[in-house]
Structure formats: C-alpha cells, structure tokens
C-alpha cells in the first residue's frame, strides 16, 4: 500500500448462510478522493461497508486500512467517520449533547461551534434530535461523522429521503470536506449524486464489481446515446434503423437508445424527413448504471 492509498481490499468474499453477498472483491481507495459505491438493492454495498468498519468479521480475503490496520481496530475507528443508513440516534439528546458525546470519543476533535456552523445547524444546538426535520437530522449525523476530523468518511446513503434543497445542502457540506482533503466513500442510490460528487464510481452487482472508474469512463463504457424524436414512423420501423438497440414511447414521441447516434439519425431523417423535436443526448450515468446492472442480471 503506498502513501496515496488509504484502504486495500484483496479477494474479499462474504457469505450469509447460503447467500453469497460478496465474491472476489479487489479494490483500492485513494487518499483525498470521493468514491461512489453504486449498486441495486442486495448488491453487497452495505456488507462491504460493514466489513470496512469491522462490524462483521472478514471471512475470506483481506482488508488493510491506513497501512496495516485491520477493520474495527481502535486506530482504524479513530480515523474513520461514519454515517450509517439507520443510525438510531437517541431522540431525547440535543444536537450539542450528541456532538459533545461523539467528540469525546476522539483525542482531537472539531469544536462544537464550528461544526454546528459547517453543518448549518446554527440555532438548533439545544433542540432534541427527535424534534428535528429529516434534513436537519441528516446534517447532525454528518456532523457526528466529521467531529473526529476523520481521514476517511464513509457515508451510507447520506441523502436518502431528503428533499432537493436538503440534498444540495448536504452535497455542499460533503464537497467542503472533500475540498479539505478528506477521502470519502459514498454509498448512494442517487446517480446524480455520484455524478456530482464522485471522482470515481464503483458499480457492484450480486456481490461483484461490475465497473470501476471515473464517472465519464463508466458512461463511455456503455456507448449508447439517447435520441428523442416525434415521427410518423412506427416503433417497428424505428427499431429497424441502424444501431438502434431499444425503442420506447414517451409523451412527446419516441425515445431510442442507439450505439451510433449519427448513423441512426441519418437513417431516421432519410426515412421520415418530417421528423421533428429531435434531441440527441449522450448516455448519463443512470443509463449506464441500468445498462450495466441489467446486462449482468
């Protein structure tokens, strides 16, 4: 492991009774990078996070953190900040009490006042956790993850269930941490979140790594473009056009997925010169993700 690597996973396998949760996982996590972990439900994301945190023991393979620290060791836990899907934070404790409590677990921690300001929780210090809105609660959990000045933040679906404004507020807080050099592992179902925040995307499915690379590289891996058009041609005629792989009906006409948009559009206009409302867009991360996971299934 070099100095720019904070975690190495080698040949990791994990089973729950008869179910293979992870198989042959090999990953490295670089310092100062945001890695998004994507995958459908049951892909093995939460198992991987629990293994990294030492919440469940490694059955086969190896995980090395910050050099040779094992997951769950005192030194590893001191350097990782965690935001879990279900935190079960005690509703009767106030924001300040929670930050003070989690701060006490670390030898060096952020000051409560500065952390409250960073998380946008000013004026809420004395309010009990159970009386906060969903967005405010997520910001408190983010603050608890950050209180120990972690080298690595592991965030499991941090914006799940939040409205767009609250999501963007949390994105800004995550972005600020990234700018300060904190490495981040972001497990999310929101592809736009990964697109917005991540330097690298790892797609898991059925316990295996399907794709691993920069968001743009993942998109390019699925070389398909989306074409929207209003045309008199039937769906069958559209499906017969060159490079068209998929045809769907949308409100404004048809949506085609093409492996060569130029060839498809030329043929389309030749067949129907009256076609209008033509839009061509490159594959977004969501389309790439769906393509990868559907093909794997």
């Amino acid at each position: 492991m070099n100095k720019q690597t904070i975690a190495v996973i080698e040949d990791l396998e994990h089973r729950y009774r008869d179910q293979q949760a992870l198989a042959g996982i090999r990953l490295e996590f670089g310092r100062g990078l945001v890695t998004a972990l994507l995958g459908p439900n049951g892909a093995g994301k939460t198992t991987l996070i629990h293994l990294l945190l030492g919440l469940i023991p490694v059955q086969r393979g190896r995980i090395g953190l910050f050099g040779d620290q094992r997951p769950g060791s005192d030194r590893a836990r001191a350097r990782i900040g965690v935001m879990l899907q279900r935190s079960g934070v005690q509703d009767n404790l106030t924001v300040a009490e929670l930050i003070d409590l989690f701060g006490s677990f670390h030898v060096v921690c952020e000051s409560t006042a500065e952390l409250v300001a960073e998380a946008g929780l000013e004026g809420l210090e004395a309010r009990r956790f159970g009386r906060l809105s969903g967005g405010q609660q997520q910001r408190v959990l983010f603050a608890l993850a950050c209180v120990g000045r972690p080298d690595w933040l592991i965030l499991d679906e941090p914006t799940s269930g939040l409205d767009p404004v609250a999501r963007r507020a949390l994105w800004a807080a995550i972005g600020a941490r990234r700018a300060a050099g904190t490495s981040i592992l972001l497990c999310t179902h929101y592809l736009d979140e990964a697109q917005q925040l991540a330097d690298r995307v790892v797609v898991l499915n059925c316990g295996r790594v399907l794709a691993d690379g920069a968001p743009d590289a993942i998109r390019r891996q699925v070389a398909r473009d989306r074409i929207r058009v209003r045309t008199v041609l039937s769906a069958d005629a559209l499906a017969a056009l060159p490079a068209v792989e998929q045809v769907g009906v949308i409100d404004s006409g048809h949506e085609l997925m093409s492996s060569n948009a130029t060839a498809s559009v030329r043929a389309l206009l030749a067949a129907d010169p009256t076609a209008d409302r033509l839009e061509v867009a490159p594959t977004d991360l969501e389309t790439a993700f769906l393509h990868l996971t559907e093909n794997a299934a």
Partner: protein, 249 residues
C-alpha cells in the same frame, strides 16, 4: 477548523451522561419504573400493613431496583440494537465496554434514586430509624444486586427483538418478584413454593437487604453465591448475544 483536545476519561463520562439524560427524558421508562414500586411501598408498607415499613422497604426496593435494571438494559439494548445506535457506537471509536458499562451505571443510579425515595418515605412516614452504616449497607446491597439484574437485562436485550423485549420482560418481572417473596413473604408460601423461591435471584437480594435492615438473619454467603452464579450465567448469555451481533447485517 481549530481542533479541540478531549481528555482520555471523557468517553465513559459522556456516555453515562448521555444515557442518563436519554433515560430521564423518557417518561415511558421513568414513570412506571419509579412510581410503581414507590406507590406499592407507600400503600402496602406504610398504609396497609402495620410494622411493614422495615421489611417491605427491603422487598419493594429490590422490586424497584430489579425493574430499573431489567428495563433499562433489556428494552434499551434491544431497541438500540434494532435501530442502529449500537452499530453506530461500535463503528465509532467509543470504547465498547464503556457503552455497556455506561448503561449499567445509569441503571444502578436510577435504581438508587428509587431506593433513596423509598428510604425517605420510610424515615418520614414510617418512622424507620437506622444507623448510618445500615443505610449505607442497604444502598450497597441494592447497588450490587442491581448489577445482577443489569446482566440479566443485557442478556435479554442482546437476544430479544425490540417488540418482544417489553412484553417478555414484563412477563418475567412481575412473576419473578411475586415468586421471590417480594409481595408476600416467602415464609408464608406453601412448602414447595418456598423451595422454588430459594432458587430465584430476587429472593437472595431481598434476603441480603433484610439482613442489613435488621429484619431477619440471612445466609449471606449462600445468597451471594446464588447471585454470583446467576450473574455469571447471564454474562455468558450476554457474551454469546454480543458475538452474535457480528453475524447480523
């Protein structure tokens, strides 16, 4: 940001403080746990049974302390385990032993609050007079006995679901108190029930309390042995339950 240094003893104290605040701000725990034994003691020990202030102080204090420990640890841990709080603490650098010790300390403290309230009632309304050493000994018996039921609560909390925990613990708590002679002295039970009572931990905790309060002699060594063995059995179940957490998603 400017870092702040935290003292090394801080986590345990903060955990005790946080769990104390969470407990006392939960009326569903504090009201029944505090009021029921105190109310029963006032009714039976001070109003209904002449001369009951002294013996029933030992019995109902045992009943109260047992409830405080069983429900704080049993329901508390089962709920926190299911809702993810325990997982979050395990993933954080919180000293794991302090998480459990903090909860037990809070349960013992709350039990002692019940003991102090009952003792004050006994002194004021029941005119009970004891030497300082007896009061302190009584508190010590209650605090040590409470640990046995903390371990029992911990074992149940690590194995039961949060929905099952309150029901199961209530099913155990009340009959255990009755069969141990906390409501009616075991000496008034039929012979076979007296035999059974002598195998139950609250019987031995109450026996020690009665000995300190000067109600009746007790076989202190045997009572301590019973409580010790029962505590060890609960500890083994608790350790197995804790290890089971590793395999739970």
């Amino acid at each position: 940001m400017n870092p702040v240094s935290a003292p090394t003893w801080a986590p345990t104290l903060y955990l005790v403080q946080a769990q104390w605040l969470n407990l006392v701000r939960t009326p569903a725990y504090t009201l029944p746990t505090l009021l029921f034994p105190v109310m029963f003691y006032g009714f039976f020990g001070l109003l209904m049974i002449p001369g009951g202030a002294r013996p029933l102080l030992g019995s109902f204090a045992t009943f109260g302390v047992m409830g405080a420990a069983l429900f704080a640890l049993g329901v508390g841990i089962a709920t926190e385990r299911a809702q993810g709080w325990l997982k979050l603490l395990r993933a954080s650098p919180a000293p794991v032993a302090a998480v459990i010790l903090g909860k037990a300390a809070v349960a013992v403290l709350f039990g002692l609050v019940i003991v102090v309230v009952m003792s004050a009632m006994a002194a004021v309304f029941g005119e009970l007079r004891l030497y300082t050493g007896q009061w302190l000994g009584f508190a010590a018996v209650m605090a040590l006995g409470s640990l046995t039921f903390c371990l029992m609560g911990l074992a149940f909390g690590l194995w039961l679901s949060p929905n099952a925990a309150p029901a199961v613990l209530n099913l155990i708590y009340l009959p255990l108190g009755f069969l141990s002679g906390l409501w009616i002295p075991a000496q008034q039970f039929p012979g076979w029930l007296q035999e059974l009572a002598q195998w139950l931990p609250p019987y031995h905790m109450a026996a020690l309390a009665h000995a300190v309060l000067g109600v009746r002699e007790a076989e202190i060594g045997i009572s301590l042995l019973h409580l010790g063995v029962f505590s060890m059995i609960c500890l083994l179940f608790a350790i197995a339950g804790w290890r089971r957490l590793d395999g739970v998603r």
